[in-house]
């Protein structure tokens, strides 16, 4: 069943995901937007709306997204917006905008070059500036606190975390990994994400345009995001209520999903999210390797949606993608896509 107002992912592309690139963010976006639209037979002139997701602090420069207008080719001027969030939220804004019904094609991006800075120095800056930022607690420290809570509640243990790392990266053995020293107990090197430079671009289309562009659009049937209180010490760290609410609102309960792509930068996060979402062994999680394999900040969530959409393009029926922001999974987004025969 479909209506003229249905909105679907019809294509996407990502740059090579590398530890460091010498290309500017504009160059990355220039190529990845072209890679996303050209196979669909679209040009930049066909794009009705753009929304970019990026973060000045990752780039190390205020107004860093402004130059990215060159990559969009915003001439004549475009309906355009920017979110200081992962590209997954840029997709949310575009999805809302298309629902107004007057335009058909949107392109969203997520981009970040983490190699230009030191995450351990940058990330404390996103904490409450009066109490938490001054103590300089970095993401690994907060992740270790959450990992302890997740282990204490029986959702994970160090072995299942190592198994997650082996599966995501496809190298090493669990016993080898568990022989390593701790970085922050209980986290070892393999429990941590890599530092990645990269960008992704995605094309959304509405109604008949989606069906004209591809045989099997990935229809977005549910999309929701929620936030929680900021201070991790005021939260139950072995739970993720915002993920649960977002998934419910996105309609996870109405039918099973075959695959899920979860933005889990740390091994215990994947295990926690699986548990919160109630996934059994029948759901294939992070077949792409996920954020443990490649973690292009501000694009990681959008890439999850891309891999989930690929499942639909390839004939799958229902897929879920998740993105997150903030310390210990503070803010969470869930996007559910379906294919139609």
């Amino acid at each position: 069943m479909s209506t003229s107002d249905d909105i679907a992912v019809v294509g996407w592309a990502q740059t090579p995901m590398v530890r460091h690139t010498d290309k500017s963010e504009v160059q990355l976006l220039m190529s990845v937007i072209t890679d996303a639209i050209e196979p669909l037979g679209l040009t930049r002139a066909d794009i009705d709306f753009t929304c970019l997701g990026s973060c000045d602090y990752i780039t190390g420069q205020a107004f860093s997204f402004v130059g990215n207008l060159d990559a969009i080719g915003a001439w004549p001027p475009k309906r355009d917006s920017h979110v200081e969030m992962d590209g997954a939220w840029a997709l949310y804004e575009a999805w809302l905008r298309l629902q107004e019904g007057d335009i058909d094609i949107a392109v969203v991006t997520g981009s970040g070059r983490s190699s230009t800075g030191n995450p351990a120095l940058i990330y404390p800056m996103e904490m409450d500036p009066y109490f938490l930022a001054p103590i300089g607690a970095d993401p690994v420290t907060f992740a270790a606190l959450q990992a302890r809570a997740v282990i204490a509640s029986g959702i994970a243990d160090e072995r299942s975390m190592a198994e997650t790392a082996v599966r995501a990266r496809g190298k090493g053995t669990v016993d080898e990994l568990l022989a390593d020293d701790y970085v922050r107990q209980p986290l070892r090197r393999h429990d941590l994400p890599p530092i990645t430079d990269g960008a992704a671009a995605m094309v959304l289309a509405r109604g008949d345009r989606a069906r004209e562009l591809v045989d099997r659009p990935a229809y977005i049937t549910g999309f929701d995001h929620r936030t929680e209180c900021h201070n991790p010490s005021f939260r139950a760290l072995d739970d993720s209520p915002s993920t649960r609410i977002a998934a419910e609102a996105a309609g996870l309960g109405s039918a099973p999903v075959e695959v899920a792509e979860l933005q889990a930068a740390f091994t215990h996060e994947e295990l926690l999210l699986r548990s919160v979402l109630g996934f059994g062994d029948d759901v294939t999680v992070n077949a792409s390797g996920g954020a443990l394999k490649e973690n292009p900040i501000m694009a990681t969530g959008l890439v999850r949606i891309g891999h989930a959409a690929d499942h639909i393009f390839g004939g799958g029926n229902r897929a879920l993608a998740h993105s997150t922001s903030g310390p210990c999974l503070q803010q969470n987004l869930v996007c559910i896509m379906e294919g139609r025969s």
């Binding site: 973060c55 000045d56 205020a62 107004f63 001027p77 979110v83 007057d102 996103e126 936030t227």
Partner: protein, 386 residues
Amino acid sequence: MIPAAVVGVGQTHHKSKRRDVSFGGLVREAVFRALDDAHMTMADIDAVVLGKAPDLFEGVMKPELYLSDALGAVGKPMFRVHTAGSVGGTTGVVAASHVQAGKHKTVLAVAFEKQSEGNAQFALGSGKGASLGAGGSFAPFIRSYIHRSGAPEHIGWKVAVKDRQNALKNPYAHLRLEDISIEKVKASPMMWEPIRFLESCPSSDGACAVVITDEDGGKAAAADGRPPAWILGASSRSEPPAFPRRDPVRPQACLTCADDVYRQAGITRPREQIDMAELYVPFSWHEPMWLEAHHLADEGEGWKLTDAGETEIGGSMPINCSGGVLSTNPIGASGLLRFAEAALQVRGAAGERQVEGARTALAQAYGANSQYFSMWVVASSLQPFG
């Protein structure tokens, strides 16, 4: 598109340094006032949209994370917009889109800047201390406008005096220059030829919030004796920073955005159909430039409206009755303050600065190198033109 209406407006008192409040306290002040105005509590809010200019201004990355509690966003969708200086306006446009798309019934839009806790000049220079400053960026555009239009030099001084006098009627405004005069503006130091010190915006701490709801919510407020401001059109446009033949005096993105918002609102004769406008005027000469780029005056004629006093409260096209960006400039919030003032005016709730009988109002914000534009047109009814 589903009709949407502004039913609550709140803003902080603005100052150079709001040392009495944290970031959280600052946004809370605006949010409480907006909710009180809407006769609502946070429980009535389905989603929160937060806007502010670069995080480097204050040195807090992704402040929506820390502010989730103060914004009352816990358990709700919270969305963070950043489109340079236009961001306050874009916050209004995106929040309206949440309602117009039919996804949410009632949305809170909040924008803020607490510049005193950071170093905006450092951030504007990308942390390298090599910034032109906003005035330095825009002065060449203003010189070009003067050259093209043949406007006399006192036009900028008149705008500066008018907006500061309007600010005296706005209890929330930052600058309160009781003794402002043409002579004082003229005698103030030259900053960026031809922009003098008193023709420039201040640096403010402040926040603004508006509550946007759907048609039922707007009608319920009206039935309760609280007039809504109906959003007849909302739009954004952007163009690249620099290329041959780009015209920053009359940017195509501004013209296209104005055309779009007028088309949505059913406005065919903006000069007659719009009763007042809040335009983003951080430097005095932007008033005549923007009058022209919004079709409120013919090309080359904007300064004549200013010179004739038509842009004063009581004139035929009052501009920036709130005192404008020239009087109050918490950068990230400055755009939403324009949008909020337009709403107050058509609700008849603008106090001493009220334009008599204002039925339709235009609000605009622009950002970066005069590249990002966001606008909305609000009105006292859904069909103000019959």
